[in-house]
C-alpha cells in the first residue's frame, strides 16, 4: 500500500482541524451564563463560598464519603495530603504514573520510591511493592490508572502489615468503583483531578476525599479558606482553594456525569470493536474496577505485529490532526530530576519501561464522535497495511534531513 494517502507525507489530513485529546466536557453556553450571573449577583468569588459548599456536599453524597475537600488542582491536593498526614522519609508509588504524583512528594520534602507495574493491568505490582517497604518508608501512594483501579484492598493489607500509611492518586478514577465501593473511600485519602482532560471538569481543580475527621479538619485549615470549619493546628498552610468559578463548572459537570460516562462507554465500545481487527494494537481495558468511567483509551503497540513503532504512529496521527499522547512517557524514574537523583531505579523497572515506550492514548470525550473514532481506526488500519512503506519513507526523509 502506498504512503501517499498520509498527511505525514504530504496528503491532506483526515481531520480538517485538530481533534483534541482530553475529555473536555463542559456545560452549554446558556447554563454557563446563568451560573456566572449568580456569582456576579452574590459577589462571592472564592474562600469557601456557597458553590464551594454545595459541590462538596454533592460530592460527599455522590461518592458516599464523609469529607470532600475541593482544591486548586490535584497536585496541590496531593501535596496537602502528604503534609497533613505528616509523612516523612520515603513514599512508594508506581513509576508508571503522571509526573505530578512524584512532584507532589518532592514538594512535600519526601523521596519517591518507584515500584514497577503489572504488564497487563498497568497497575502497581503488588508483589514488588511488598518488597520495597523498609524502615524509611512512611506511606504508599496507590495510583488508579486508566479508569480502572489498583487493588486498594491488597494495598491496604500491605500497608497495614508494615505499619505505613496509604493514600491514592485517583486523577483518572472519578466515578469508578471497586466491588460496589466508590473510589474516594479507600486509604486515608484519595485525590481526584478536575482538570479538563478528566471526566469531571472544573477547568482545573481537584478534590481530596477522606473518611478521617481529623485529617479533614487539618486539610480544611491548610487550604486557607475562611469559614470552612474551626481552624486546627497544622505545620504550614497553602493557598489550595477552588474558586466559585471552578465550583460552578464542577457542579454542572457533576450533573452531566451519567450522560458523559455513557458517551465515553459508547465510544470505548466502538474503539474496542474496531481495534480488535487491527493486528499489533491491543486496547488496554480498565482493570480492577467494577465500574469504570471509561475516560481513557490506551493502546499498546506491538511493533513486530503492527509494523511501525509507537513513536512513528504518534507522528503519523498528529499529522492527521489527531491529538494523541505517549502515555506516561518516560516513566517517572527516567524523568528529571529523578533520572539523575535516583539512578538506582534505571534497571529495575522493566515493565514500566516496556509500557512507557509502547503505549499510545487516543482521543475520547465531548468533541469525539462515533464517526471520528471510525476515522481514527481507519487511519490505524491503513497504517498497518502500509507499515513497510511508511517505515521506508520515514527513514528516507530522516536521512535526507540529517
Amino acid at each position: 500500500m502506498s504512503t501517499s494517502g498520509f498527511a505525514l507525507f504530504g496528503a491532506n489530513p483526515v481531520f480538517d482541524k485538530p481533534l483534541p485529546f482530553g475529555q473536555l466536557y463542559f456545560s452549554s453556553w446558556e447554563r454557563y451564563q446563568e451560573s456566572f450571573r449568580g456569582i456576579f449577583e452574590r459577589q462571592y468569588y472564592t474562600e469557601y463560598g456557597p458553590l464551594n459548599q454545595q459541590i462538596e456536599q454533592k460530592l460527599q453524597q455522590f461518592l458516599g464519603v464523609k469529607h470532600a475537600i475541593c482544591v486548586t488542582n490535584e497536585t496541590i491536593g496531593l501535596m496537602m495530603v502528604a503534609s497533613a498526614m505528616g509523612l516523612k522519609g520515603k513514599v512508594i508509588l508506581p513509576a508508571f504514573a503522571f509526573i505530578g504524583s512524584a512532584q507532589s512528594l518532592s514538594w512535600a520534602g519526601l523521596e519517591p520510591v518507584f515500584c514497577d507495574v503489572d504488564p497487563d493491568s498497568h497497575q502497581i505490582d503488588i508483589n514488588q511493592l511488598a518488597e520495597l517497604v523498609d524502615k524509611d518508608v512512611s506511606a504508599i501512594m496507590g495510583v488508579h490508572l486508566l479508569g480502572g483501579a489498583c487493588d486498594p484492598q491488597a494495598l491496604a493489607k500491605i500497608a497495614e502489615a508494615h505499619g505505613v500509611q496509604l493514600y491514592f492518586d485517583a486523577a483518572h478514577a472519578f466515578g469508578c468503583a471497586v466491588d460496589g465501593v466508590q473510589i474516594g473511600n479507600f486509604g486515608r485519602a484519595e485525590v481526584f483531578s478536575f482538570h479538563q482532560d478528566n471526566i469531571l471538569n472544573a477547568t482545573e481543580g481537584g478534590c481530596i476525599c477522606t473518611n478521617d475527621d481529623d485529617l479533614a479538619a487539618r486539610l480544611r485549615t491548610m487550604r486557607s479558606s475562611a469559614g470552612a470549619g474551626k481552624p486546627v493546628e497544622v505545620t504550614k498552610t497553602v493557598n489550595g482553594r477552588m474558586s466559585e468559578a471552578q465550583c460552578a463548572v464542577a457542579l454542572m459537570s457533576l450533573k452531566d456525569f451519567p450522560k458523559n460516562r455513557q458517551n465515553n462507554q459508547n465510544l470505548h465500545k466502538i474503539y474496542e470493536a474496531q481495534l480488535a481487527a487491527i493486528p499489533g494494537l491491543q486496547l488496554v481495558k480498565p482493570s480492577g474496577a467494577s465500574v469504570s468511567n471509561h475516560q481513557n483509551v490506551v493502546c499498546r503497540v506491538d511493533e513486530s505485529k503492527f509494523g511501525i513503532s509507537r513513536d512513528l504512529l504518534v507522528e503519523l496521527l498528529e499529522a492527521e490532526n489527531v491529538n494523541v499522547r505517549r502515555y506516561t512517557h518516560p516513566g517517572l524514574h527516567r524523568s528529571i530530576p529523578y533520572v539523575h537523583e535516583l539512578p538506582q531505579y534505571l534497571e529495575r523497572l522493566p515493565n514500566t519501561d516496556a509500557l512507557s515506550s509502547s503505549c499510545i492514548q487516543l482521543p475520547i470525550g465531548a468533541l469525539v464522535t462515533a464517526q471520528s473514532v471510525a476515522r481514527i481506526c481507519e487511519i490505524l488500519n491503513r497504517a498497518h497495511f502500509a507499515a513497510k512503506d511508511i517505515r521506508a519513507k520515514h527513514m528516507s526523509i530522516a536521512t535526507q534531513t540529517n
Binding site: F40, G100, H195, I336
Partner: protein
Amino acid sequence: MFSTPKPTSNLVRPDFDKFLDYSKIFFDRHQYTDDGVMVNQLEQRLAAFHQTTFCVAFCSGFWTLALGITALARPGKSEIVMPSFTYRRMADIAAWTRLKPHFCDVEEDTLANSAATVRPCINDNTALILGVHPIVKFCDIDGMVDLAREKNIPLLFDSVESVYESYAGRRIGSFGAAEIFSLGASKLVNGFEGGYLTTNDAQLAERLSRLRNFGFDRQGHIAVHGGLNAKLNEMHAAMALAGLDDLEDQVERNRERYLTYKRLLAPLKGIRLYEFDESQKPGYKNIVIETLEDWPLSRADTVSILNAEMVLARAYYTPPLHRKRIAYPHVPAELPVTDRLAERFILPPCGHLVSNADIADIVELMSFIAANASAVKAHLQQQAELSA
C-alpha cells in the same frame, strides 16, 4: 450597625458582559486551561501595563511567589530574608520551597523592609532577598536593589499591594530580578484566584512558564526540575481581563473612598490616616489608619467592637510572623520596630462593597467609641470578667 458585613477585601466586580465576552472566546475554542488564549492575552496585557518584557501567570499569588523563589534562589543556600510584618502566609511559602525564613525588621516610616534592615540578616547562607511593598507606599526599592547588587544576591519584590503604583517614572513591575502580584478576589485585579510575575529576564520567564506546568517544555518533555501544577485557568484569566478593562474607573472609585475617609477622619482625635503619596500614582485599594497615644482604647478592643457591628476591620499584619509559633526551620529574630508597630495599625473596610455612606457610618461609630470610651471600657471589662 450594618446588616451585611463591610469587608476589607476589594471584591471588585468587573462588568458581567465583558466577562462573558472574554469567556465566549475560550468557550468556543473548547480549551479551558493549559496555556490557553485568555491566559496568553492576560500575560500580554499585564506585561504592557507593568512596562516589562515578560509576564507569567499562575493559579494564585501564593504559588507565584513559591515558584518565583524556587527559580531565583541561589542553589545550595538555605535562607530567605523577608520582613515579619507582612502577609500571614509568607513564611509558609518559604517553608514549601524549603528555605528558612530569616525575618528582618521594618522602617518606622514605611512599615516595610529596607537595605538597612535587610543588611544585618545577610550571611553566607542567604539564597534570596524578598522586598515586600507595604499596603501604602513602597519599601526601599533603590536601597535594596543596590544591596542585592553589592552582595550578588537575587532580589524578588512582593508587589501584591502596589499593582498600580509608579516609582521613578516607571510602573512597579520591573524592579529587582522579578516582581510578583496576586489576582485574588481581595486584590486590585480580581481573577477569582490567580497571580503573576513580571520580569525582563527571558530565561527566568521561560523557566517559570515550564515550572507552572510540571516542568514541561513545548515538546512535552520535562525540561526543568521543581515543577508542579500552578496553571491559571481560562475563566480566571477572563475575569482578570474584564477587571483590567475597568481598572482606571476602579482606581477613581477607590480614591473617592480614600478621600472620604481622609475628610471624615481629620477631626477624630487619636486616629491618623496613613496617607498615600499621590506622586506614586496609587491604586488606593486599602485604607490604613494608626491608633495614636491619645486614642482611648487598645487597638484590639477597637477592632473587636467594630467587628461586632459587622465592620470587619482588621489589625494590620498581626501577629507579625516572628511572634507566631512556627513548626519548620527558621531563624529566630528580635525585631523591636516590628513589635512596636504591630500594635498600632488598623485596616478599616474598603473596596467594592463599601460606599461613601458606609464610610460615614463607620467613622461615626469610631467617634462614638471615642466619645464614650470610659463606658465602653467598663463594659468590655465586665464582659471579660463574665467570660473568665
